[in-house]
Symmetry: C2
Subunit: 153 residues, 2 copies
DNA sequence: AACAGATATATTGCACACAATATAATCGCT
DNA sequence: AGCGATTATATTGTGTGCAATATATCTGTT
């Protein structure tokens, strides 16, 4: 008497009841938003994130970049090779531990920082910083939730 | 006296100051979380989203699926062809408007719903529903922000 | 009826993202 | 010193995502 499959209020499979769909949609929109802003810099969004990490500290291993960005070598290795080909980073084996690859910035990579300074402001547009701070904090909580081990054991 | 490039409190390029990085990281973690749960069903996460939409209403055009999921034909066409090859959906030209392609469910696609009922609970694990509701609402606000036209004009 | 513009989907090319696996170097234990 | 286990990165294969473009169909106007 309530419908084909379940009472609407109880149906766990409604798109609008999913926790993760808004997250998924927001990230796709995000990429579309950053794309045109980063294109003049010759960066994609994940490449921009790598640059942010390297502008903070350099050099770093592939593994430490991955730990910071939650990415593994399967994603980072080809990405870093493209950035090396673009002349933004250097990749050299660590002489002290030949398993490691040290990622450093080239002069061009360091200089690009000045061109990137406007990016956060451009993306934020005219939004209030309180609103942005609140949203950031909430999304960060979600990251902590999803990153927690023993999630769905 | 404050650092190489900017006073830490003012630097807009610190990774931890980015609004969008937690979102990006959360979505990657999300995919890793859903992957093993959906694999027994033969679905990827975006394919699961398509199924959620079709289980609500069917058939739908490629365009209406895309409007709901914020995806375009460049993403959906190959995805739907894979789902057709897997025997989950049907793709037929709309007789009334030959530009359109109607996506419907096969019997197997309809039957899969029963196997998917446990997915939301499995993903949620033991989390409180209040916490999840709050996070969902906040992420939805962010979607609205990012989807707003004239964002960074 | 014809035609310009709009609409709906498909195709191409590029760049992620991840699971699974492979390879090479280092470490720990004896 | 030798050797199995661990660690760090690379490779392979599949599946998205998106911009740009192409193709086919439809709509409104004349």
């Amino acid at each position: 008497m309530t419908g084909t499959v379940a009472a609407p209020g109880d149906d766990p499979l409604l798109l609008d009841r999913q926790l993760c769909f808004p997250l998924y949609a927001a990230t796709n929109l995000l990429n579309r938003l950053y794309g045109p802003v980063l294109k003049p810099l010759g960066l994609t969004y994940p490449q921009y994130l790598v640059m942010l990490v390297l502008w903070e500290e350099e050099p770093q291993t592939v593994g430490s970049l991955g730990a910071r960005l939650y990415l593994d070598s399967g994603t980072l290795t080809p990405l870093l090779k493209r950035m090396e080909a673009a002349g933004l980073v250097s990749r050299t084996r660590d002489a002290g531990d030949e398993r490691r690859v040290l990622i450093g910035l080239t002069e061009r990579g360091r200089a690009l920082r000045a061109d990137a300074l406007h990016v956060p402001g451009t993306i934020a547009g005219g939004r209030s910083s309180e609103e942005i701070d609140a949203l950031r904090e909430n999304v960060r909580q979600l990251v902590a939730m999803l990153a927690a081990p023993g999630d769905a054991d």
